[in-house]
Structure formats: structure tokens, C-alpha cells
């Protein structure tokens, strides 16, 4: 059984149809990259998977199946059990998703206690352990910091640590590295790859950086104006795709030793 399946999914904000006829099947341990320009609907798709469409957003047609079960008529309680345990999400700036007036540790402990009946002390230790596993040195110190005291790369690692606490089957990442420096970006990407290798986590990554998308993906999806313009295995997409838009996008990526304009 496929881990996640989107079947002819249409997503609308109010009366405006934003994403049309989206089809996707992914299995455990696979990494899917969704690329496209701003406004192509790529974030809308992964938000729909997690039931997090902003005001007025709705799946108007088709179905979204997670392990064979539809996600479309889940109650609040069912969502609460699913989110953060089986499906997690990492945002562009994990610092912005945290309450700026509370320390990282408070938020982390509260998150763990929502999902598990353990003591605060154990929850704290679990948080520290997760932070250190994500290569953040001195987890206790991080837990005692406010989000603004951490650098962008560290905040993103905290986000990944939180998202990975319950070893979700599916990790959704929305532009997880766009706000980071290139060397930090490389470190975070490496971390994502290790998650897949160690835990068999499936990942959907939404990005506009085609280099990153291609490096990570088993399967690439190109979106344009709310429609899946082209999709396929990475090698197929990079070398054999006949789609004009895919070719145009690939051609626009600057590469070392590639086209020079001067």
C-alpha cells in the first residue's frame, strides 16, 4: 500500500480553483521534490496533505489518502493524533513558528506532552536528546534559549528535531533551506538525507532551488500555475524529459563549469 496518495485532487481558496487535478503516489522511504515558480501552488499541495490550508482553502474534488485512509474528513482529535507523530512539517523559518516569548524548551516539552503521557523531566530529556541527535551541541543550552537567540541554521535544526521526535512516516518540508547560507544549507540537506537512511522517513520537499531538489529527490514534480506540468524519476526528468517548461527551468540553473555569459 502506498504511504501517500493524491487522487485527482483539486484545491480551491473560496471559489478560485488553485490546484487542479493533482496526482501523486509515494511509498515509504521515498523522497519527492516539488519544484516550480512562486505562485505555482506547490506549498498549497503539501499544506493540503496536512490539513493546514489557510482560511477558505478546501479540497474540492478528489481524495488524499494516507496509508489507505482518507485525510479529508478527519476530526480535530484525529488530526491532533496524526500531526506531529505520523506526519510532520518543517517550515521555511522554524523560528517564526515558535512563540517568540517562550523558550525553545517550553515549546518542545509542551509538544511532547501533547503526544505522550510522561513527566516533564522525561520530556525535557527527550527534547535534549533529539536536539543532540540533530547535531546541535549542548542541547540543554538550546532548550533554555529563546528562538531569537539562535542562528537561522540552529533554528532550522530545532524545527527538524521537533518534527522528527516521533519518527514520522512522512515529513513535509516547505522551503526548509531558502533562508539559510549556502554552507548551512548543505548541512541541513545532508541531515535530511540521513533521516531517510536511518529512519526510512519519506520526505516531500518543496523548493525553488532545482539543484537541491535534484540532489534529494527520487521523484521530481514540476508545477506551473496550479497544475502538475511534468513528473518522473530524477534521471528521466533531468535528461530525457520532453516537456518544454521542465527544460526551460533546468536550463536556467547556473552550474559550475556550465554556460558562461561573458
Amino acid at each position: 500500500m502506498a504511504l501517500l496518495e493524491l487522487k485527482h485532487t483539486d484545491i480551491s481558496y473560496g471559489k478560485r480553483l488553485i490546484v487542479k487535478d493533482c496526482n501523486l503516489t509515494m511509498n515509504q522511504g521515498e523522497i519527492v521534490s516539488i519544484v516550480g515558480e512562486s505562485g505555482s501552488g506547490k506549498t498549497t499541495v503539501i499544506r493540503a496533505v496536512l490539513g493546514l490550508l489557510p482560511g477558505g482553502g478546501k479540497v474540492t474534488n478528489g481524495d488524499i489518502l494516507f496509508e489507505g485512509e482518507t485525510l479529508l474528513n478527519k476530526s480535530k482529535d484525529e488530526w491532533r493524533k496524526l500531526r506531529g507523530t505520523d506526519i510532520s512539517m518543517i517550515f521555511q523559518d522554524s523560528g517564526a513558528m515558535m512563540n517568540p516569548t517562550r523558550k525553545v524548551g517550553d515549546a518542545f516539552v509542551e509538544y511532547i506532552l501533547t503526544h505522550e503521557k510522561i513527566s516533564r523531566k522525561d520530556a525535557w530529556d527527550k527534547g535534549v536528546e533529539m536536539l543532540e541527535r540533530m547535531r546541535l551541541p549542548d542541547g540543554n543550552n538550546i532548550m533554555r534559549s529563546y528562538p531569537f537567540q539562535l542562528s537561522g541554521g540552529m533554528r532550522q535544526r530545532v524545527g527538524i528535531a521537533m518534527g522528527m521526535t516521533y519518527q514520522p512516516k512522512l515529513l513535509l518540508a516547505d522551503e526548509p533551506t531558502s533562508a539559510l547560507d549556502v554552507t548551512t544549507q548543505a548541512q541541513i540537506i545532508r541531515q535530511f538525507m540521513e533521516l531517510r537512511d536511518e529512519y526510512g522517513t519519506s520526505i516531500i520537499i518543496v523548493t525553488h532551488n532545482l539543484g537541491v531538489a535534484a540532489y534529494m529527490a527520487d521523484y521530481l514534480i514540476v508545477m506551473k500555475n496550479g497544475v502538475i506540468e511534468d513528473q518522473g524519476d530524477r534521471d528521466h526528468m533531468l535528461h530525457q524529459s520532453d516537456n518544454a517548461y521542465t527544460k526551460k527551468l533546468l536550463d536556467a540553473v547556473p552550474s559550475l563549469g556550465g554556460t558562461r555569459y561573458v
Binding site: E37, S38, R135, S151, G153, M154, D181, V182, T183, T184, Q185, A186, Q187, I189, R190, M193, H208, N209, L210, G211, V212, A214, Y215, R234, L238, K248, L249, L250, D251, A252, V253, P254, S255, L256, G257, G258, T259, R260, Y261, V262
Partner: protein, 322 residues
């Protein structure tokens, strides 16, 4: 590759210090020496907070260095004042990262493009419409855009307007601060092509700030790599991946994701992040993160030495005494 007689701007020993909390001093630029050549592009690369924007702002006199001088047309432009400074602005113009933030939202495109020309009395008010259309066409936009407001345009179109405004005064030098990083890659490509075409047509010198080596090497002539306020390497942009010598430049190259790379290759990137410029190490600024750090690196800062024509590197691995 670069002829000394084509050199039009030279920055000498530029240092900029900012006062920081607790009586400490933040050194944003430390003894920067750079040369810019007629009709060539200088790419300035580095991570956030390395001082690359601080340096470029000196060229357009948005800030003045604590020490050092910038020689342009035989004069130190950091000391210019009043009318002289105003006149000099015609020669060096700037394009900012976020074009929507650098336009007055209440002005029409026509007035945005022509404002500098009117300020310097190059054209009459009656000519505004005609001239605006000319410049719009020069940046491959329809002339009718003259009637629009900035918010009616896409990011790529706005960036073209910013370029049109910058070239309106026919400057010799244009400084571009991450001018394409807010854009989609397909749009980015068209903007780069536009910049390169304009450069060839008008023989403009460009100072381009970027954090993406993959992008900058595709259209720059020379690249300066900055780290924590220091220039660590200056090298020709062509075949940068083969010539790079400084461990930091190599680390930056290792962090480039492009489509021709070997996808099975493990990512080789340095761990850890750049320290705050307030706590820069005493010796080589990169010594804490460098995998080839030697004892001397922790004590003494290496100065730039020339390894071949147009290629300088500041690293003890390549100094003879070490």
C-alpha cells in the same frame, strides 16, 4: 587578463568598525583592497554578515569607511561632500535586492525612471514620457509600462525597472546587491542575460554581491571571496572550481548544488556556522572551521599573496614561510 590601465576604481585598506554593545567593536570590513576594471564584473561572495554589503555601500557613498580610501578618477570618493558628492552619484549607481522596497509606491514607472535624469537636468519635463519608453525598451519591457505603478508588476519586471533607473544616468559603475536572489530561477536567468547585454553594450563596470558561487561564476570576470570582514581569495571567475585554493572557497564550492553534480556523492560541507564577527578568532578568521588548520593559523592572520596573475589567496597553506 586585467590591464592596469583599465582600472577605474581602487579600494585601499578599507576598514569599517561599528560600535557594539558592551564597549566592544565590530569589525565589518578589515583592510579590504580591491580593484575594479572598466567593463568587467567583480563578484563579491560570502555568507550573511561577512561585510560584503557594507563594503559595496561605500562605493555609492551610503556609508563611509572608518579608515582607508576609495580612489575613483584620481580622487578619494569617501571624502566627497555636498555638491561634489551629488555630482559623483551620476557615475556610480546601485540596484537593490528588493526592488519593491526601493521604489516610491506612489510614483509611476515613468517618473521613477526619469527622476535621476530630471535631478541632474539631463532632460526636460516634456521629454519624460519619451525617454521612459526608451529605457523600458532597453530592459525588454513594453513602453506602456510607463503608466503603471510598481505594485502592478511582477518581481522580475520590477527588477528590470530598477536596472533601467540605474542605467538612466549612464553610470560607469553599477553596484548590485543580491539583485536576483528574490527571483525565480527562470526569471533570474533572463535578468542576468539582460545585465550582461547591457554591460557589453555600454561597457559598464559591475560590482555584484551574491552568496551563490554557482550563479556568480556564470557571469563575473573576477570573484572576491569574503569571510568575516576579510578578503580570503581573489580569483578569475572562469573555471573557479579548478583554481580555487583557499579552504573556505572550496567549502563554498562544495556547498553548491547544481544539476551536473554526481548525486550519489556525499555532501562535503564544513560543520558548524560562521562565528559572530564580534568573536572573530585572533588568527586566520576561518581557522575554527578549517579542516587544514595549522598552529600558525591560530596565531597569525595570513595576508593576501599573489599565486598567479589575477589570483590572490590569504592562507598559510600557500605562504612560503609556513
Amino acid at each position: 587578463m586585467f590591464d592596469e590601465k583599465d582600472m577605474i576604481l581602487e579600494a585601499k585598506h578599507i576598514t569599517r568598525k561599528f560600535p557594539a554593545a558592551g564597549g566592544r567593536t565590530l569589525v565589518a570590513c578589515n583592510d579590504i583592497n580591491l580593484k575594479m576594471y572598466k567593463g568587467k564584473t567583480l563578484g563579491l561572495v560570502g555568507e550573511s554578515g561577512c561585510g560584503k554589503s557594507t563594503f559595496m555601500r561605500f562605493l555609492v557613498a551610503l556609508d563611509t569607511p572608518t579608515e582607508g580610501e576609495i580612489i575613483y578618477k584620481g580622487r578619494d570618493i569617501t571624502k566627497l561632500k555636498g555638491e561634489e558628492l551629488r555630482q559623483n552619484r551620476q557615475n556610480i549607481q546601485m540596484v537593490f535586492q528588493d526592488p519593491s522596497g526601493s521604489f516610491n509606491p506612489k510614483m509611476k514607472i515613468r517618473d521613477i525612471i526619469c527622476e535621476p535624469l530630471l535631478n541632474f537636468k539631463r532632460i526636460k519635463k516634456s521629454e519624460v514620457d519619451k525617454v521612459a519608453r526608451e529605457y523600458l525598451e532597453m530592459v525588454d519591457l513594453p513602453g506602456d509600462f510607463a503608466d503603471r505603478y510598481p505594485h502592478n508588476m511582477s518581481g522580475g519586471q520590477r527588477q528590470r525597472i530598477a536596472i533601467a533607473r540605474a542605467i538612466a544616468l549612464e553610470p560607469e559603475i553599477i553596484v548590485m546587491d543580491e539583485a536576483t536572489c528574490a527571483l525565480d530561477v527562470s526569471v533570474q536567468k533572463t535578468i542576468i542575460e539582460l545585465i550582461v547585454n547591457l554591460q557589453k553594450k555600454k561597457n559598464i563596470t559591475i560590482g555584484f554581491i551574491a552568496h551563490d558561487l554557482g550563479l556568480i561564476q556564470s557571469f563575473a570576470h573576477q570573484i572576491a571571496v569574503m569571510y568575516l570582514g576579510n578578503i580570503v581569495e581573489i580569483l578569475p571567475a572562469e573555471d573557479i572550481d579548478k583554481h580555487a585554493m583557499h579552504p573556505y572557497t572550496k567549502a563554498l564550492l562544495g556547498a553548491v548544488f547544481d544539476l551536473n553534480m554526481d548525486f550519489s556523492k556525499k555532501i562535503e560541507s564544513i560543520d558548524s556556522e560562521a562565528p559572530s564577527p564580534l568573536d572573530a578568532p585572533a588568527g586566520c578568521p576561518f581557522c575554527d572551521r578549517c579542516d587544514r588548520c595549522m598552529p600558525i593559523c591560530k596565531e597569525k592572520r595570513a595576508s593576501l599573496i599573489t599565486v598567479e596573475e589575477g589570483h590572490e589567496v590569504a592562507c598559510h597553506l600557500y605562504t612560503k614561510e609556513a
